[in-house]
Structures are given as structure tokens and as C-alpha cells.
Amino acid sequence: MTTFQLNGQSVSVEVAADTPLLWVLRDHLQLTGTKFGCGAGLCGACTVLIDGQAGRSCTLPVVEIEGRSVTTIEGLGGDHPVQQAWVEGSVAQCGYCQTGQILGVVSLLGQNPHPDDAAIKTALSGNICRCGAYQDIIRAVHVAAGRMPPQAAEHDKEETV
């Protein structure tokens, strides 16, 4: 049995200890916003926040998150400034990678509230978008950064400590 905080709630799952967090979320907790892309930590589609930091859930055995805090796209609520910027900027094309991209950005803005293009590119270089929405992603990150309430950014920062 593994117990962890998921989107603010305590959950316990009884699965093989080596089951990746991704499949625990998708198959056992029915949270399908976190995507399977490569199964090898190469594409970032499965990105979630672990204690506020972006991480790859497809290669992370669930046993390793015992007692930790996980945020998935479902936990952002839908009107998070990053999500708003994504919707307004029509960033998503097919959209499959975008939940992972968004969580990557939330993680980045938690550490660096006003990233420049280079910092954005570095932070998101592990998140493949096969539709190539990269330029719209960068544009939307700047929009979101300008709208993040300072306290929210601080809050995320505290979570990472």
C-alpha cells in the first residue's frame, strides 16, 4: 500500500511497488489528464508536479512517492493563470502533450516567476510537442507569468522547499 497526497487529498493505492505513478493515476485512479507518450522519460507527456516540481510519472515507481504530494492537471482547477493563457492563446493543437507542458510551466514559474525565452526553452526542453506549438507555448508562458498573483508564485515556491 502506498499513500500520498493527490491534488490536496490523501489517497492510498494497493498496486505492485514498481508500478509507475503514471499508470496508477490513469488505470487505478481514473485521472486520464496525465498522458502516456514514451514510457521512458523522454517526451514529458506524463509530467506531474511532485512536491511542486515537475517530474516524469512514467518512470517513477509509485513506491517512491510515499508520503509526498502530487499535483496533476486535474488539480490545477481549470482557471489557473497558465491554463487561461493556454486557452486564450489557442496553444493546444492536438493537445495531447499540453497537460504536461502546462505543469512544466507551473513548475517553472514557481521557481522563476519571470523567465526569459532562454529559461523557458531550457525548462521545457524535455516536453516534446509533435504539433510544434512551441512558439505559442513561449508566448503563453509570458502571458501567464504576467498574471500569476505574486502570492501564488510564492506559495508554489514554498511548496518546493
Binding site: 508500478t19 517526451c43 486564450e88 493543437q93 502533450c97 516534446i128 506549438a133
Partner: protein, 726 residues
Amino acid sequence: MKLSRRGFLIGAGLVGGGLVIGFRLKGSAPVPGVREGSFQPNAYLQITPDDNVIFQMARAEMGQGVYHGMTTIIAEELDIDPARVEVELAGVHPGFALAMGQLTGGSMSVAMGWEPLRNAGALARALLVAAAASRWGVDRDRVETEDGVVSNRNTGEKLRYGDLVEDARAMDPDVDFVLKDPADFRWIGREAPRIDGYLKSTGKAIFGMDVSLPGLKTAVVLRPPQFGGQVRSWNADTVRELPGVIQAFEIHTGIAIVADSYWEARQAAGNTHVEWDKGPLAGLDSEKIRKELLQGLEAPEPHEVVDEGDTATAFAGARQLLDAVYMAPFLPHSTMEPQNATALVRGESCEMWVPSQAPDMTRAVVAFFTGLRQEAITIHSTLLGGGFGRRGYVDFAGEAAVIAQKIPDVPIKVIWSREDDMQHDYYRPASCHGIKGALDADGRLVAWEHRVVSSSIFKGLAPNMAMTALPAFVPSRMAESIGRSAGDLIDQWDPMTSEGAHIPYAVPNIKVSQVLSEQGIPVGFWRSVGNSHTAFVAESFMDEMAHAALADPVKFRRTYLTDKPRHLAVLNLAVEKSGWGNAPPGRYQGVAVHECFRSFVAMVVEVTVSGSDYAVERVVAAVDCGLAVNPNIVRAQVESSIVYGLTAAIKDPITIEDGAVRQSNFHDAPVLRINEAPRMEVYIVDSVEAPTGIGEPGLPPLAPALANALFAATGQRLRELPLRLA
């Protein structure tokens, strides 16, 4: 324009093929997804008494934006904000067929949907107006609409569309209707956030991978590494005892392992030990394929695709001849969502949830593999996590159905791993091109010959096409074999791989020929299809000819485009916006222009070079796709095509070793990442022409413009993709 519903046929031609399909808007079978009590003037639209407007979107949304674009078109004529329309992904019905049945491909959705969707929206609006006029006892011209509200000009009374559903249902549907004057468009041609943006930014979007049903089990399939390989033996008894495994058995593509969850199925697959028969392709490798393709250049009787003037005489009298060989490799699609499908078989019927570019073909293929009747198969469409042509093939749906048939009453989802996806694709065919050009004594381009050697896309697709297009009373085994024979008959010509080779330039003598060379590697549509290689060759070689004529590549092209205003306009726009000829110090430019699926795109690519490394710094694109229904989506699609095209132009391709694909995941078949993406600028030509496609036409000019820029920088003419400097 005044139209009556009586003659309301959707007629559509298969681009370049001549096959014409026409269907009554309402087919004989009921349209799927219809609500009780709703007003349903045609297959696409329903309005419910509680004022919901529901649009059955019958094309695959795979990122290219038809969800937003087609909704914009129908909503414009219905006169309601597209953001208020509830979009449903449609199932299979003849009323939804546009061109090539319900296949989403060839960048045709908006182009082919433009008229029928406008008509459908306008007809519904006309019926609502008529219903209101009748209720108010006024002439129809005293009734107007605005954003979902009907109002009485005499009294100022207002009704919502939903209020009129009962009345509209009782109306004679044969009313005259008028299309909006484009000058009155409120939503078409304007920038607006995509209406699927919220779903796709919140995890609420349901892709095939996300389909969830009570009691669902997951299956993975172990397929032979070699194409055409077979299972010889495996440790079935052991596998069936592994944790979570429900069943494990052989199917037509390999060994299926069904388990409670994906991870258990995948773990069991890892513990399945199979001895494979390598099949007929054992020993085949990329080097051998390359030699066979090169031999095609010498084949004595190619199929002549274009034969204008007399190239032989022109070459004989030329002052200068250029002769070159170009190569392009196999490429995977690498959709972000690996292939998957869900099936539930109950008795003699089957229900499926499939992220497919061709729901009607899915149904036909499932009928073929299960022996079930097509009418007993229901297809639910989901969103697609990328398509790019891969999902015009539905092998994964056949697997799901066959597995589900062996475990009746249990929903089965087949999930491919990334490795499965990379190694069992229908690849962009590898090709080899022989190309020749001649300048006369005045330095004018007078002759052009291009021979395309590749395997055939059509041949592999023909059985599926036959099964889909032939009437349901033809047994699917027979249809399959008819298709196979048709594919074999056309043994030299494949319009899909040679498309785009007919240059637009006013050259008096042009010959395009084709030789098919089959190696047994599955090939298929890959974003922009034949154009993805023919444009690379033709536009690179046009640059070679310009340099041979000691002319500026832009001026040289303009000389031969005087009767091609749309090519010329995009070329000129890209040249102007890029500052052609005035690149900053250390930067070098290359240009290309190409027509693909009736849209025109020119690009100027700017590079920097350091030794044998290079970086793409900036890409300026100018595009004419007729009226841009959603300008922001047009821009996004061109950027998308640039990024997709860059991966193809600079990253490692698929190679074959011992009859199998060597690459397996993004580490050895890399795709362009955000830190590698150039600055992109997209300019749209203002147009009142009917819209044409934009999902693919942005791709073909990228590789040649880049190759031409690298030549400008280094003097090295790179004739093989991916582009590698010495």
C-alpha cells in the same frame, strides 16, 4: 446565392484521382447521436428545445483545428457564436462523407466542407426564420437573426432558437435559403480562441487512450520485429500465469496479452519469450534498399506522369545540362499519442472507440477481421493525439476488435508502446530521385526531367479503400481481394508518391516519370505525402539551375512564374518580409515555393553555420490558402508544419536492419524540441477565394529552403535528407 434543399447533394471529387462520390445529405440509415425532440434539419445540426445547438463534427480533430474551423463555418451561417455550439465527434454515416468517404486527409476538411457546412447552417437558419415568421404571422423578410436569437422587426419580439424547435420541426424542410455575404461574416476570418482549447488545457479532452468503460481490460500485442514475420513458438503457459494476466493468445498481428491494467500487461509482455520466424524480409537493410531505389533510375520503362514538349530534343540542344540524384529516407509519424483502440463485442455486434482519421474505413477493416456485418459495428470517434496520416491506417482497431471478439462482453483497450508505434508504422516511403535540367544559349531553363523512385502508397491502401467504398453487400473478403488486385494492376504509378513533382514553372519541356520499387516495408501517408519529398527535390534543383544560370534564386523563379499569380504572390511576400538578400552578417538565406493541396506557400529560411554544424535561426513563410477561416489556426498550422518539416530535414530518420526498424523511441528517432525551434513568422495573403487546406502545405517548402540556405552558406549542395554538412 439562392439554393433549395431539393437539389442539395454533396458531391466531391477525389483530388487528382477523378473518383466522384455523391450522397444525399440525409442517408437512409438514422444519423447517430440524435436527441429525442430535437430539430434536426440535416445530418450535421441539431437544436434542442432547451436551446442547445449540437454540431456533429465528422472529421478527425488531430490538432489541425477542424473542431474549431468547421464549427466556425456552420455556426456563421446558422448565425450563432461558434463558442456556444456543442461539438460532438460524429460516427459513421453516408451523410457525413465529403471526399474519400470520411477520411480526414489531404488537408481537405475545410476545403471540402466549406460549401456543405455553409449550406447546412444556412438551411437551418432559414427554417428557424420561416418558423418564426409563421408564428408571428409576418413575412419572412420581417424576421432577422443575431447570435442565436430570432427577432420580429415589426414588434421587436425575440425568441431563442430553442424556442422555435417545435415549430421548425413541423416546417416543410424544402425552403429557399441564402448564404451570407462574406462581407457580413462575424466569425469567419476573425481571430478567436480555439473552442477546444479549454478541454485540451484541463485534461478533460478524451483521446482514444482515455476511453474508460466499466470492466475495461488492457491488451498489449507483441508483434514480430521483422515486417512479415511470424510467431514460431512462445511460453504461453507461463505468460498466462503472470500477475494480472487474464488471457494471452495469438492474433493476426502477433501475441495479445490481456490484463487488468496496462502495467501488468506490459510486464507480462516483457516476460514473454517468443521465437520469431523472421519472414521474407530477413536480411533486408537500408543499404540494400538504397541500392534498389538507385537501380530504379535505370529502369527502362517508367510510368510517365507528365510529358510536355520534347525534353530529349531540348537536352540535345542545350548549352548547359545539370544532372543530379536526390534521396529521402523512411520517416515515422511519431504521434504523441501512441496507437490505441477500444472494442466491446457482444454477440454479433461490436462497439468501438477509436482515434482514427477514417471511421468508415475502421468499420470496414473491423468487419474484415471479425467477420461481423458492417451495420453491426458502431464506431465512436475520439480526439486524436496527432495524426499526420498515421491514423488513416487502422491496424490497431483491427487488433482491438479481434481480441475483444475472443473475450466477449468485456471492453478491451489495445495500447501500443512508443516502441510498438515507432517500429510498426506506415512510414513515409524512402525515395530516390533522378533529376535533369537544361539551360539554352540565353541561359533560359528549357527542359526539366524528374524521375521518382519509391514504393507505392496506393498499393498498400487499395484493399482498405475497396472494403470501405464498395457496397456493404459485397463480402469484405471479396472487397479486400478486389482492392489487392487493383493495387497490383497499377504496378508502376502511384499518384500519392509522385504528387508535387510537376513544377509550376513555365518550362516548355517537362517530363515527370515514376518507377515503383517494392521492398516490403509498410509505407503510407505522411504529412503532405508525396510533396514531402518531391518539393525537396524540385525546389533544391531549381536552386541548382538558378546558380548554373548565374541568377539570383528569387529572380530566376519569378522569370518562370509570370502566369502563376498565386505562386508569385506568396514568393514576393516571403521575399519582402524576410528581407531577402539583406541577411544579417553571418546569416544565409534560402528560398522555396510550392503548391500543395491547392494552397501556396513560400518560405525563406535563415541559417548560421559553424564548421559542420548549423542552426536554423528564422523561417519566414507566406501562405495563400484562400479565405483564412481562422487566421490564428492557419498561422499555427504553418508553424506546426515548419517544426514537423524541420524534424524531417535535420533529425535522424528510420533505418532498416535485418528486415526490422532499428529505432525504437525518441532517443534514437529524435524530434525537434522547443530549444531547437527557430523564430517563425507567418504571413497570410488576403484572399476571397474559397478556403483550401492548411494542415500540410506548410511542410514541403521547408527542407528545400533550408538546403538552399546551406548551399548559400557553404557551397555544399546537400541532396540527401536529413541534411548533413560535410
